[in-house]
Amino acid sequence: MTSTHTQMHKLLGAALLAVLAAGCSQKDIDINNPNVALASAVASDPTALQLLATGLLVDQRGTRAGFIQNTGIFGREAYNYTPQEGRNTTHYLIGINVAGKQELDPTGFAGGLTWGGEYGADRDIYNFKNTIAAAAGLSTAQKAASLGFAQTIEGLMLLEVVQFHDSLGGVTEVKANPFDLSPFVSRDSMYKYVLNTLDAAATNLAGGGSAFPFTLSAGFAGFNTPATFLLFNRAIKAKASANYATAGGGATAWAATLAALSASFLNAAATTRAQFDVGVYDTYAPAPDTPNGLTQATNTNLYAHPSFTTDAQTKADGTPDNRYLAKIRTGLPSRTGPTTGDGPTSGTSTIGFSIWPTTSSSIPIIRNEELILLRAEAKQATGDKAGAIADLNQVRVNSGGLPASTLTTASTDDAVITAILYEKRYSTMMEGNRWIDMRRYGKLNLLPLDISTGANKNFVPKVTPISQAECLVRAKLGATFLGPNGLNDCAP
């Protein structure tokens, strides 16, 4: 018996040893994940600065097409007729009924727009700033230039946020700990933060030496040194100031707009297409780059609003506005949104855009043509009606091929603003302005509603709601993270 037990214990012991030998080396399970780059590895890689800088440009570009398409739909420039998914049309045009009021559905297709992508860029800007601060190999000027670059993109991103959410306000800063949320601030605070950030960027760019320590993308050609990038920075500042001016910033903001314009690449004497088109662009290309998703070459669901045809003014020869002819293609197969038992949900259209002919067509971030019209707005607002009319005519005649406007200094303010808005509508067609401009001047009610009565009644939203995702997290993290209306559902 004893010997049996001893034998058995030996055997069990041997088995255990075998197990230890076979299974207990931790090295065996310490495997790498080849699909990802470790943050720790990137931090110590000297080539990372360029990659991170390009990352900001990719982030910025990533927000652009959506921004343009969404403002386009809200501003009655465009339709998204995705036949397989009617909500792409209806959720934008009809929304939901909240307490008897039409609103965009924060959980729907048109909910949460212009938010996550912009703050994603903000996160990368935050990380980029930290990388710059810690980069031992950069000179003071290089650091300043890099910071100015990042701050300009930051201002641009937050401008997009406040343009969409307007009275709802937004969040200005990301923090190191993603669970530590910045509070919501008012629209006024948002604009002030944007303007201050852009000004800080300008200061940094001015002291940024002759070159960035990284290369910018092709869309920044002509604006890719600290000095020339500053011109772009001022253009964005001008646009942000003008937006702020109509959102409570008033005369000071208009003055700041004029100042920024004069420090930008504004060429008010532009007469040729090339001169109007000077500016900064987001570039696209087929994979592995990103193709332009709005192009007629691949996007067969993006249609133009028929009001472009009816509203286009005619040249002396009786043909429509050159900008209409250049940007609108006609004779497309007739399309409409889904039809419900209550009838159609949208108007029909047979026109589309020819603004982006290929998947490699660029989308402007800001162009000289817009700057001239911004100056017209600012001049009009600061009492220089003649100057405003001159600026709008510069565009109207040279870009539109139309006869000069009949406006005079005797015309009403509203007539001048309406005229500027017409020029902006055709000059910056699908460049993200129409819906926002109409709101800025209190004219959303003038946008055409395809279906004006009944269950499918269309509406124009004033703002887009804060995404439900944002609200739910804030609610979960506790009452200190209240939404703009004092409740943590952050519904509009």
């Binding site: 034998q7 058995m8 055997l11 041997a14 088995a15 255990l16 075998a18 197990v19 299974g23 207990c24 931790q26 065996d28 399970i29 495997i31 994940n33 990802v36 780059a37 470790l38 943050a39 720790s40 990372a48 990659l51 991170l52 390009t54 990719v58 982030d59 570009r61 036949p83 009617g86 909240v98 008897g100 959980t107 729907g108 949460g112 996550g116 703050y119 994603g120 860029a121 996160r123 990368d124 935050y126 990380n127 993603p178 669970f179 994979a287 592995p288 780059d289 067969t300 039809t339 419900t340 269950a455 995702a469 739910l472 997290v473 804030r474 993270f481 409740l487 943590n488 559902d489 519904a491």
Partner: protein, 1037 residues
Amino acid sequence: MRRRTTVLSLVLALASVPALVQAQAREITGKVTEALTGQPVTEATVGILGAQIGVRTNERGEYRLKIPNGGATILVRAIGFKRQTAVINATQATSDFKLDKDVLELEGVTVTGQATTVDKRNASTAIASVSADELTVAPAKSIEGNLAGKVVGATIFENSGVPGGGMQVQIRGATSILGQGDPLYVIDGVIVSNQSVPGGLASISRSSGSTASTQDQTVNRLADLNPNDVESIEVLKSAAATAIYGSRATNGVVVITTKKGKAGATRYNVTQRIGSQQATRLLESRHFQSYAAVTATGDASSPHADSIAKANCNPVCPYYDWQGDFYNNSSPSFETVLSSSGGVASTRFFASVNDRQTHGVEQNTGSRVTSGRLNLDQTIGDKMTVSGGAVISHNFTQDGLGNNDNAGISPIYTFGYAPAIYDIQKIDPVTGRLVYMWMNGGGDGTSNPFDVVHSIQNNEDTWRQTGNLRLGYSALSTVKNTVQVTYIGGVDRFQFEGSQYSPNFLQFESNDGFLGTSSILTQDSRFINQSINGVWTFSPGLKWFNSAQTSVGGTYETQLIKNYQVRERGLTPTRQTATSGTDIATIDNSTEFRDQSHYFNEQVIALDEKLALSYGIREDRGSANGDRSKFYTFPKYSASYRFVEPLSKITSQFDELKLRASYGQSGNRPNYGFREITVASGGVISGAGSLVASGTVGNPALKPEVMNESEFGADGAMFRGRVSFEVSRYNRIIKDLLLNFPLAPSSGLAQQQVNGGQMSTRGIEAGLSIAPISTRDLEWTLRTTYQHNTQFIDKLSVPAFPATGSFGASYGRNYIRAGMKPTLIWGNVPFSCLNTTNASGQVVVGTGADGKACHRIYPGDASVAGSVIRDSVIADANPRGQTSFLNTVRYKAFTVTALVDWRVAGYTSDMTKNLFDEGGNSRDYDNASPATGYSSLGAFRYNTWSAGNIATYIDAGSFVKLRELNVSFQAPKRWAELARARDMRIALQGRNLFNHSAYWSFDPEFSNFGNANFNRFIDLAPYPSNRQFFFSIDLGY
């Protein structure tokens, strides 16, 4: 006739058979026969009661056993028969045994460890096993189909009617929200892959992205297994049973044992099967009564469609049975199974070859599985055994088209949207091809399904090799002690290739801006697992202490999966290779898990085999955990006691009653790639690469989910084995759930996977087996099972969120919310209820017009007055109960087996109906509206839905299905002799023959998203359900 065996029993038998060498021995001989027929029973084990050793009967049922001088009690056991003991006196030299058939399967053993088993009657956890006979009542497209309705506690879903596979097994409800939801499949000791590989149909359908999606009608790879090779399947359900598989076991473990060779003359078996299939139900579509009705749908908006409608509808429109013509493929299916088995005592083999070719009801779809298996068992000397198996299989499926679609190719989409008022099966004289689909917009957002199904290729091709090896060493074998050391190793690898081609000329092709799409997706999978086990069994031969078994061991497992896909669009005509495309997308990623474990396990049988105790612990660590060095422990405890004498004193009709209780923990390891803090590639701009923050923030503290389960049950037998029953009640508490903490979008990041929250499942399972008649000529057995469970999210450390894989509030989805059942379907519904806020700002839930409390939707509702549309609970997707009836009646040579499945409730989001209504095209569209203000029933449903009340498409999924039917005839010898065979069996088999359900669409079991923990109630344009018929001849040589 094949009889049941149980897992590992053969291996253990091998281990326990070494010759007894003992002084002063004598011999006893005898014959073991079947009581009813007198047929010899082969491979029965004969031994001294309580001892570890014995001998097996030969082909003639004879045995020769050495026993010590004096009297003894002899125990005889055989698979498929009830055990029998006989007391023999000191002078007796022969003893014959006549065994009764074990029709209710009370005998046999059940798995308790990597290398241990216990007698079923001493099992202390609920047992679920399925024998080969039960398994192969009617052929199924994948072996899960063979299990449906036969495993109490398991819910088995068919994802769609696609041939070739695509099924899901869920044991005792979902155990995880984001973690692995599939049971662990172990075949002959090898952990095998049951990966659902999205084949790449999304590259054409663009259902989600434009490469591959879970909506691709995916086939899970269990489909590669040949069900005819399976000897038995055992399903381990409770945590106490699955704890032996540690951190991969919360979803249960399905232990599959394949057939082994039997010593004796080589036996051959040939089965030839021929069959056909038919759609179980098709949806038809609206019969349009006028041109005006067609134009009102907006589907004939183009001038050409309008002219067709005008011309055809005079005044009533014709009706073309598009679906009937489209889903009418009844091409014959064939299956050939060849197997052979034989060998001598020391070397035995089982070999099989199987070729199964089936067609789907959708034209141009089908599958072909070909596999070959060789299992060998070799005894070396009297201490070593070597068992090995090797399988090679090839599985080719033509999946056809179905499910969600954003391109206009899913046939049900077209049938749902387009009025069936003109002939789409005729050739357009201009193009020489089938006519365009002019209805439903008529542009490139739609297509003619008859053209598409023949022109588009959507194939999946899998080559698979699986091998297993088991080395057993009997280190010690005495009357009282045995020590067995076992090594088990296995490799399972496959290469999957999904390929799609959509030629340039198809109507929809220009829609995405590129003519032609082609994609090839490859998945390479390699699973390797090894374990070593030592088992010491101590049988002191005492009545009050029967045996103690101690086992120790360890495992090492690796799983490596590599994915590659190249998808190209904008092709030159007929060319399908990547380089010809103008828009190319590639995918290249890999997943690898490595896990190590060791365990200790003790099981004790005592008090005259009445008391069984078991306890053990397993420790696991793995590469997916945040801390790779840390071992996570999974203990288990269980006990059972059989009451025999007290009952027999009360009534002789009660054989025995066993009460059992168990508690155990098992785990579910973290998902791949959530532990490291990473930087993502942001893409390319102007040729320059970029880095951006990863939306998902790595969590270095990730650890496995832990399930704590307690189970109580009773198993009983009555009327001398004529009736048996089992009842189990379980309570599962799953902690440290893997959850995504969604970071606020304003943080610039998306999520972090964390452990937190708690989910619980309470359920009941019951089974009743009756053998009312068991005579030589007439046998009848009936097995009924019932199951129900309720799940709750007890706590949630993250904001409530909709379960992944759904379409949103307009279509219904499961919502993970503390205090709520995760199986509830949430969606938009209108409310008129007013909540208020008290002085301290808290929401006070108000009372609605119906006198009930307002639903609290989310904080902030206090501000909403009047009628609002909010995301709220509509119904429960979890059935109220599932019952199955398995009936077998044999009269002489005829046997009829029928399996009926009955599900009560279990709601479904019928988005297929929504499609038909949206197209103004559902078959009952013109019926009267149940409410005023709507022109018809279809308009009522759709308009109610589109106004924000989706309840009109949430339908009860109750059904009664005749899942399986088998009518077989054991042919007389002389028939068999005509084919020079030993025996012959002829059978008619059917699957899904009958489905009674008030459900509107195809089948309430279907899931657009394939295998999923939640949200598997969404029915969207699936490949239709179908019934299959087979005629088979089985010849034995």
